[in-house]
């Protein structure tokens, strides 16, 4: 595909429409945040709306839909690495050892003084 970012047809009107779409998606995410649903379903829906918003911003505001596929793939590599890192560390959080190491026991709370003003 020839590089055509310099003369792509994206105009002000399209940016306005994308802005409205992003605001609607933000409203949807806010609705999910307040909805009386299970935490796992909430997490799933929030990941979905967030990824959709990122795709819209990247495709239209950052013009990735006009770029070559090799650049597009490169720019999405952090998301893949984020998933790998999250699932590598997730197993650690289910054990009790790290739990006891990093969360202060109730008796130790008294030692923590509030910062002086």
């Amino acid at each position: 595909m020839a590089h055509s970012a310099a003369h792509h047809p994206t105009g002000y009107k399209q940016y306005f429409v994308i802005w409205v779409v992003l605001l609607v998606m933000t409203g949807a995410a806010l609705g999910v945040g307040y909805a009386p649903i299970s935490e796992s379903l909430k997490a799933f829906l929030l990941v979905g709306t967030t990824l959709a918003k990122i795709l819209v911003i990247a495709a239209y505001f950052m013009h990735l839909r006009f770029e070559r596929m090799n650049l597009v793939v490169l720019t999405f590599s952090p998301i893949v690495l984020a998933l790998i890192m999250f699932f590598f560390t997730y197993g650690e959080t289910t054990g009790s050892a790290t739990h006891e190491l990093l969360v202060r026991p109730a008796g130790a709370i008294a030692d923590v003084a509030p910062p002086a003003h």
Binding site: A2, Y12, G33, V47, T50, M62, A82, M85, E92, V103
Partner: protein, 208 residues
């Protein structure tokens, strides 16, 4: 010998032979993308750290009881709106209309400043209540909450401040006639990235 020369010319004319970018973008734009990817990896580290902190914590504060969600939603609105006018500034710059580009850049900077003002208000409010990166006044057993809050929103806020500074320089240069459509586009890519990071912070820190 003839064949070797022809082969050399074929390689030189190919995408990888030099003189042409295999990614089909100017070098400055490609460097900006490389910077954005490396910066995104930093935020990946922060967000995964936050997920880890949260998963090891026996409880986590209800964000709606601590944060002013109206303010946070307004901040999100300001940043998304500034991202939209930034896209328009890039469009104007590419269309060879520096006057409109400077006007849209000015609106983008206003959006960024509104966001920063709201963040300063939020931070000062929390600090006044006794919150610190090492102390959570709402539940002292979970200092991870305030630690994650200050590190993630602080790092993002610093990016917004940097972005506003870069945009001010780009706008001033454009107003002085030192006009470069590529420069405006590269600054715009950074600003949209700052918006993308806030979309993630808004969803995973404030709503989840």
């Amino acid at each position: 010998m003839e064949a070797t020369l022809a082969e050399q010319q074929r390689i030189l004319a190919s995408d990888w032979g030099g003189g042409k970018s295999p990614f089909g973008v100017p070098w400055s734009k490609f460097m900006m993308w490389i910077f954005i990817i490396s910066d995104a990896l930093t935020f990946v580290g922060f967000l995964v750290m936050y997920g880890f902190m949260r998963n090891i914590s026996p409880t986590w504060p209800h964000q709606t009881e601590i944060f002013n969600m109206g303010l946070i939603t307004f901040m999100t609105f300001a940043l998304i709106s500034s991202s939209a006018v930034m896209a328009m500034a890039v469009g104007a710059a590419k269309a060879g209309d520096p006057k409109s580009a400077v006007r849209f850049l000015g609106l983008t900077i206003v959006g960024g400043l509104i966001f920063l003002g709201c963040q300063v208000y939020e931070w000062s409010h929390f600090i006044h209540e006794g919150a610190a990166p090492w102390y959570n006044p709402w539940n002292p057993a979970i200092p991870q909450f305030t630690a994650s809050f200050f590190v993630i929103t602080g790092f993002h806020g610093f990016h917004v401040l940097s972005g506003v500074t870069i945009l001010a320089v780009v706008a001033a240069r454009a107003a002085m006639g030192k006009y470069s459509a590529d420069g405006v586009e590269n600054a715009g890519l950074y600003w949209h990235f700052v918006d993308v990071v806030w979309v993630l912070v808004f969803a995973f820190f404030y709503l989840l």
